[in-house]
């Protein structure tokens, strides 16, 4: 088996657990969209073209509340700003690739593929074809998302109360699973606790701005904790 093929397949394989987390998430999006006022074609088009779970959910909620298109687009922008932070992290590993690679990998960049790919890039072995690993993860996520959106739409049509099943629990459960491998140092724990607390305190902010503000607070706290730890122990007062 060629290097590329092996990378592609192991990228897809390592994404399997996250497909399980994305399935109820995709289903509830599909099941909620049409009753919220989105046409079936628009529901599928959004999954196929926007391909961003959290902002698709929020858009559906805003459609149901008859929000103007300009505000829905602006909210999508803010909720997805975190992807710029992801692309900044991946940039050192991708900048030698041609644009015909960078553009599709950017289109398919999700929380899940980021979390999987960043761990692959951290290993230095055969880094020349590691982008095939990210491609494998991306395509697995994409196909999975389209499939469950469609199925959610069909199920939602047949079973009107499917939206009350609590399938939205899939998002926190998946994200908790993704966050645990990060918790290895004190600064990282400080960052996570601060961001979480700030997330609760900023719920009143409009258009999900709280997510961005809380992430910045968490990052700042983590960096401050790291800096405090690096100070020499002898600096303590005698």
């Amino acid at each position: 088996m060629s290097d590329r093929r092996r990378e592609f397949l192991s990228g897809a394989r390592d994404t399997l657990p996250l497909l399980l987390g994305a399935f109820p998430f995709g289903m509830i999006y599909g099941a909620l969209a049409v009753p919220s006022g989105l046409s079936p074609a628009a529901t599928m088009a959004m999954s196929a073209l926007v391909f961003a779970g959290a902002s698709q959910f929020i858009a559906v909620g805003l459609v149901a509340a008859h929000t103007p298109v300009a505000i829905i687009v602006a909210t999508t922008f803010i909720v997805n700003l975190r992807h710029m932070l992801y692309s900044a992290t991946l940039l050192p590993h991708l900048k030698q690739l041609p644009q015909r690679w960078r553009a599709p990998l950017a289109f398919w960049l999700t929380d899940e593929t980021f979390a999987v790919a960043v761990r692959r890039y951290a290993r230095k072995d055969s880094a020349n074809s590691a982008h095939w690993y990210q491609l494998g993860s991306s395509i697995a996520m994409y196909v999975n998302w389209q499939f469950w959106t469609l199925l959610g739409m069909i199920v939602g049509d047949r079973i009107p109360d499917a939206s009350s099943w609590g399938l939205d629990v899939a998002m926190p459960v998946t994200f908790i699973g993704m966050i645990i491998p990060f918790v290895k140092t004190i600064p990282m724990a400080v960052c996570i606790l601060t961001a979480g607390a700030a997330g609760l305190l900023t719920l009143g902010l409009p258009y999900k701005l709280g997510i961005l503000a809380s992430a910045l607070a968490g990052i700042a706290a983590g960096m401050a904790a790291e800096r405090a730890r690096r100070k020499p122990k002898g600096a303590r007062a005698a």
């Binding site: 391909f51 932070l85 998002m171 926190p172 459960v173």
Partner: protein, 109 residues
């Protein structure tokens, strides 16, 4: 699809792809300061944590810190499963199972 839907989807596609592609497109022309590079590793856990806590503690928009909140119970079980198994698939499966099992029990009795 209505004209407003086409507009909404094109707009959402444009801003989402724009945000994801911006830095990749500029790659050669971007140089990051060392402190920015040092901050990158904190980004994913910070974003995820800011989404998780409100989703778990206020699942329906109101504070629910009690055993009758299945989202909170599932989050605690998921965390314990994650720490113990160190296996993502097992963690997510246990978390989802805990949620639906707990809800079934809580609604039945």
């Amino acid at each position: 699809m209505t004209a407003a839907e086409v507009l909404m989807i094109l707009g959402m596609t444009g801003v989402t792809f724009g945000v994801r592609y911006f830095l990749f497109a500029l790659a050669e022309r971007v140089r990051m300061a060392p402190w920015i590079e040092a901050s990158l590793k904190f980004i994913p856990p910070a974003v995820l944590s800011a989404i998780i806590l409100p989703a778990v503690l206020l699942p329906r928009g109101e504070w629910e810190i009690s055993l009758s909140n299945p989202y909170l119970v599932a989050a605690v079980v998921t965390t314990a499963a994650g720490v113990m198994t160190r296996n993502l698939l097992a963690t997510i499966a246990i978390g989802l199972f805990a949620f639906f099992a707990y809800r079934l029990i809580a609604f039945t009795f």
